[in-house]
């Protein structure tokens, strides 16, 4: 497993031998190891969600067929969406935040390493919890948006929705903690001279994303509490017969949900903003503009949520406001695209796999953005809402945008993590099968959607004449599945036998490339002084930085000690929340006691060894 290889690579460095074995990973508080665990977990869930997608596509091959029951189909698309958004795209971005940001700003770890570990374990246990329903045939089934009143006990009497709201609330904790961690790290732990406007764009986008996380997740947390209380304790937040408004759920969900999609895309925008300059041998065009555009997207993203609700009858005044805001947000997004293109213009382009994924993103995301702008017009949405046109749109931006950006990042930073390069031939196969498979899957959906095929229903009528589009989509999905297998094969093969990469295989500009690959566990022997945005591209500065970062110190810096309290606390939180499902108040209170105990132990345990 790549784990063993990384450990072997680490073992070659200096006096400290990186501990190996499962226990060392379970108790780690090292941001680099946590990042690897996030990546592996996200990849695992990617296959889970991918299988769910393939089963959906099999079902939809022909009209009016029922290989799977309607109920099972509902579970499949619900879990596909929930898994891909919360258990794949977000944690995979977090994997990159974790590994790369401290290295880019010249820090030895994040601000709160034990909180970092806690976030990971909470995410993992929460993700497992949501999926537990599969084992009793009661996976969540009310779609990833869980609209009231479908999620009420009247219409979802089983445990399905309980798994959903409990699992998601657990995961929410991880995200908020992560957001706090990264904001603090970025504000407080930059190397000397690393002003905010000298930080790499990926770190900047991590910063903006973290703000979105800490502000948006509490909203859905409360919404889930309302839903949970309605189901378990008889409140009437969304019960129309008692004056509750189901549309309030939609408001609260989308007040979270829209910033959420910017949480999904901004990290990838950050990734490609670092990669494109490297493989164009040119600094990013208009760095400050790209930064401000990112901040603006995050900010305006808070004002567009009801464009998901154009069909709920909010009225022309409300609708107009959200139409305007949604159209406005396209501007900073478009600006970034022009900046990336301008960066490439006149540069010396190297078409590595990482660069291919970046260019692919530019093309594919633009298509998704165009269909998005179409949705921005409320009258058009009245026809497109709940049709496959919407499915096409968001897959173009999430898969073609967010995921392709992360895969670019994978090919870019893999050498830093493992000390080996991913195989470029396999990489190109990965890229092209992705492009073919992905576009074949989702482009036809624009058509089937416009011809009236509704989403979230287990079958469709033959009279719609959308059979061909569905069949193309199913074939495309399987090709896309093959691309995922190629990726995993590349990871496996290259981690063991890939070409050795040095500290800076891409001749890139930013600080993470100034230290060995893989880095020492303490990252930097001494902190370099930064004088520009591209420290490794400026003569003079490069030599000064490398003189400091490539040192082998006689005494290694002391790092935080490993701990088993994060995993224990995460487990106790998951169990405590899970007990909410029983609805018995004293059971729930009992569940809180271990949480209290573990919190105390985790909080008051010294971070460093005695005497430091």
């Amino acid at each position: 497993m790549s784990t063993a290889t990384i450990e072997q690579a680490h073992a070659g460095h200096g006096a400290h031998t990186e501990p190996t074995g499962l226990w060392s990973w379970i108790t780690t508080v090292d941001h680099k190891r946590i990042a690897i665990m996030y990546f592996l977990a996200a990849t695992f869930f990617f296959f889970v969600g991918g299988v769910e997608a393939l089963l959906i596509r099999i079902q939809l091959w022909n009209p009016e067929q029922a290989i799977f029951s309607a109920e099972l189909y509902n579970q499949l698309f619900t879990m596909h969406g929930t898994t891909m958004v919360f258990l794949v795209a977000m944690p995979m971005a977090v994997a990159f935040f974790n590994y790369v940001v401290p290295l880019q700003i010249g820090a030895r770890d994040v601000a709160f390493p034990r909180l970092n570990a806690l976030s990971f374990w909470i995410f993992l246990f929460g993700g497992i919890y949501i999926n537990l329903g599969w084992f009793i045939g009661a996976a969540p089934h009310a779609s990833w948006v869980g609209y009231a009143t479908l999620t009420s006990t009247a219409y979802s009497p089983g445990l399905n929705t309980d798994f959903w709201f409990i699992g998601l609330s657990i995961i929410g904790i991880a995200s908020i903690a992560g957001g706090v961690n990264f904001i603090t790290t970025i504000v407080n732990m930059r190397a000397p001279g690393m002003k905010m406007m000298r930080m790499p764009l990926f770190t900047w986008m991590t910063f903006v994303t973290s703000f979105l996380l800490i502000t948006a997740i509490p909203v859905i947390a409360v919404a889930l509490i309302f839903l949970g209380f309605d189901r378990t304790f008889g409140t009437v937040f969304f019960d129309p017969s008692m004056g509750g408004d189901p549309v309030l759920w939609q408001h609260l969900f989308w007040i979270f949900g829209h910033p959420e999609v910017y949480i999904l895309i901004l990290p990838s925008f950050g990734v490609i903003s670092d990669i494109i300059p490297t493989f164009s041998k040119k600094p990013l065009f208009g760095y400050p503009i790209v930064v401000y555009a990112g901040i603006l997207i995050g900010f305006i993203g808070w004002g567009v949520w009801s464009h998901h609700m154009f069909t709920t009858g909010l009225g022309p005044i409300a609708d107009s406001f959200f139409v305007a805001a949604t159209m406005i947000i396209a501007i900073p997004t478009g600006v970034k695209i022009f900046n990336w293109i301008a960066t490439m213009w006149g540069g010396t382009i190297r078409f590595t796999t990482a660069m291919l994924f970046c260019i692919g993103l530019l093309a594919v995301f633009t298509v998704g953005g165009l269909s998005g702008i179409m949705h921005a017009a409320a009258p058009i949405t009245l026809q497109q809402h709940d049709s496959y046109f919407v499915v096409a749109h968001f897959h173009y931006v999430i898969v073609g945008g967010a995921m392709m950006g992360l895969w670019a990042g994978l090919y870019y930073w893999f050498p830093k993590v493992t000390g080996r390069l991913l195989n470029e031939t396999l990489g190109k196969w990965h890229f092209w099968t992705t492009m073919v498979g992905f576009n074949l899957t989702f482009f036809p959906m624009h058509f089937s959607g416009l011809y009236g095929m509704p989403r979230r229903i287990y079958t469709y009528s033959a009279d719609l004449n959308v059979d061909l589009f569905n069949q193309l989509a199913t074939i495309g999905a399987f090709i896309f599945g093959i691309s995922a297998l190629i990726m995993v094969w590349n990871l496996w093969h290259s981690a063991r036998k890939g070409d050795t990469a040095g500290a800076n295989p891409w001749e890139a500009a930013t600080l993470e490339w100034s230290i060995p690959s893989p880095p020492h566990h303490y990252n930097f022997p001494e902190l370099p002084v930064i004088r520009s945005r591209e420290p490794l591209w400026n003569d003079g500065e490069r030599e000064e930085v490398l003189a400091v970062t490539m040192l082998e110190p006689e005494t290694e810096p002391v790092m935080p000690v490993p701990s088993y309290w994060p995993i224990l606390l995460a487990l106790s939180i998951t169990v405590a929340w899970g007990l909410v499902m029983t609805g018995i108040w004293w059971v729930i209170v009992l569940g809180i006691l271990p949480v209290f105990f573990c919190t105390l132990m985790w909080a008051f345990e010294p971070a460093f060894p005695e005497g430091h």
Binding site: I183, I214, W302, G313, G315, I317
Partner: protein
Amino acid sequence: MSQTTPVTGSGSDAAGHAEKQGSVALYIWIGAILAVLTFVEVAVYLIDAFEAVEVPILIILSTVKLFLVVMYFMHLKMDHRALTWLFLSGVVLAVFMVSALVVLYHVLPRFA
């Protein structure tokens, strides 16, 4: 928290400790003002003559109380500006959300 241990000095207020620390007298004054403002709020609520302007006055008074607690008791006025920006981002968004939902539900005409 043990994380603060290596940050030498007295937590965050190493330098200029004396002048940054408010005096006991200041705190008691603020406390008294807060109590007075609370009583004024209740008076405005109870006295019918104020009914027309009740809502804006109450909102202004609570905002002032909030401001006093945040700036002085929570020491934000004297601390690094970054803390103000970080906290303000949350406050601004929360105020926006509450206002938006109030407008959507209570101000705009309902069609549904």
